[in-house]
């Protein structure tokens, strides 16, 4: 596959997963509605609460993440080479220059965040600056800028709202059963069946929603790899950088579960391989696969 077909394939797959996600939520709403007789009131409240929570975290995502990660902003004079690399790639990508931050940690990693290209941030560790050469660093930064340009942060924000909605709906539904507030509908048998399905969904749906979210996250990582390669016109740069990063076994100290998905490579080192099931729970696709695809472009 060449770079362009990679990009179209990944965009298509994202759409497919989003449509399936929405179909999934619609089915849940239908089942809960039928089972409890309350219909769509749940959905409205759930969407509002979930929306407020995620929207505020997404709006302030840059400040929150940077605060958690002890990052320091740099200007051109602090680190001219890094600054110029980001500046030049932004010219190639046609986006304004994001704020640039450095985290003082020897584990090599990088991330980008921000709700749109005008309010974006890119952050690298001192580890990545020390360990990668210029071409490899360009590959990594091009990948991060592609996340910004493809509005991935906004997409994942929306997906997180949907996941939160699913969890809230499951919660409301289970509570309504517990407290026995159920409208009796005429067709009691049908309501009974929906009740059973509803309970099963209430238990499983948050997990399914999370799996869908992780699937979308992985697809967007592949897309950022491909878009970044189109920007540098040199996929080998990023491939070689990923190889170096994967060989480094040191975990990133400041990363935690909330921020892990933003980084270029999973900051919690150690074997994530193993069963097919374990791979489903990964925010990033396996590094060997990413390198293989990059080298085939």
């Amino acid at each position: 596959m060449n770079i362009y077909s990679q990009i179209s394939a990944n965009k298509r797959k994202t759409w497919v997963v989003m449509v399936l996600f929405i179909a999934f939520i619609t089915t849940i709403l239908f089942v809960y509605g039928k089972a409890s007789g309350y219909g769509y009131a749940y959905a409205g409240i759930g969407l509002i609460i979930s929306g407020i929570m995620v929207f505020s975290s997404y709006y302030y995502s840059d400040r929150m993440v940077l605060g958690m990660s002890k990052a320091k902003q740099i200007q051109k004079k602090d680190h001219p080479e890094l600054y110029r690399t980001v500046e030049n790639l932004c010219i190639g990508a046609g986006i304004p220059l994001p704020k640039i931050y450095i985290i003082d940690d020897s584990a090599p990693n990088a991330f980008a965040t921000g709700r749109d290209p005008k309010h974006s941030v890119i952050c690298v560790t001192t580890g990545i600056l020390d360990k990668l050469n210029k071409i490899e660093l360009e590959g990594v930064i091009a990948h991060e800028l592609s996340h910004i340009r493809n509005y991935d942060i906004r997409l994942m924000g929306i997906v997180t709202i949907l996941v939160g909605l699913v969890a809230l709906l499951a919660d409301f539904f289970t509570r309504s059963l517990w407290y026995g507030n159920r409208h009796r509908e005429e067709n009691n048998n049908a309501q009974g069946i929906f009740l059973v399905i509803g309970v099963i969904l209430a238990v499983l749906s948050p997990i399914i929603a999370t799996l869908i979210q992780l699937a979308i996250s992985r697809k967007r990582e592949f897309l950022a790899d491909a878009s970044g390669s189109l920007l540098t016109r040199y996929p080998e740069g990023l491939a070689s950088a990923l190889e170096k990063i994967s060989k480094d076994k040191e975990p990133l100290e400041v990363a935690n579960n909330a921020t892990a998905h933003l980084y270029i490579s999973n900051p919690f080192k150690g074997k994530i391989q193993g069963s097919w099931l374990a791979k489903l729970f990964n925010t990033h696709p396996p590094i060997e696969e990413r390198i293989k695809i990059l080298r085939s472009m």
């Binding site: 110029r84 030049n88 790639l89 010219i91 190639g92 990508a93 046609g94 016109r233």
Partner: protein, 183 residues
């Protein structure tokens, strides 16, 4: 009755397609213009840097008249370039001439060691990278716009509204000046 409904729906869909394609093309043109002025910004920065570079080199290597003249000529031709093609040709000329000028630093150790020269070298190499990226961005936008004009059926909309293909930022091989670097 059914046939009429079908026709109405078909016309509405076609109209929507025409509307969206027209907007894509119009936006495409605006983006190309923006990308072109982006290239001009970087070209101007290099043009502005040249007198400083010539001055520094003259101070240490007065006898390299030929090379210095090449740079001055290429600079003027770039300043006078109007069409995209002219700019591309002049840009290549100036790039080549500047490379030779920087290379003579090897023959003049005083020049090579001068802080001014070193700074200018770094600035120039950074601007060359910026120009390259600006060209790439421009060409990417032209490629996207031209693709819409070439694809069917959007090509029909394109010709109805008089959209023409834009040219890439490139110069033919024969016109690139072959600059010999002599030591």
């Amino acid at each position: 009755m059914d046939l009429t409904l079908f026709l109405i729906i078909a016309i509405v869909l076609i109209a929507l397609f025409a509307w969206s394609t027209y907007n894509s093309l119009a936006t495409g043109k605006v983006r190309i213009k923006e990308a072109l002025s982006g290239i001009d910004v970087q070209l101007k920065r290099r043009i502005d840097l040249v007198p400083n570079l010539i001055g520094t080199v003259k101070g240490y290597a007065k006898h390299e008249k030929g090379l210095l003249e090449n740079v001055t000529k290429a600079r003027s031709s770039l300043m006078n370039a109007n069409t995209t093609h002219e700019k591309a040709v002049s840009d290549n000329m100036l790039s080549g001439a500047l490379k030779s000028l920087i290379a003579i630093g090897e023959a003049y150790p005083d020049l090579k060691a001068s802080q001014n020269f070193l700074n200018l070298q770094q600035e120039l190499s950074d601007i060359e990278a910026k120009i390259a990226y600006a060209r790439q961005f421009y060409n990417t936008n032209v490629s996207g716009y031209n693709s819409i004009l070439v694809n069917f059926p959007s090509s029909i909309i394109g010709s109805i509204f008089g959209f023409k293909a834009e040219e890439f930022f490139e110069a033919e091989e024969a016109e690139k000046k072959n600059v010999k670097v002599e030591f």
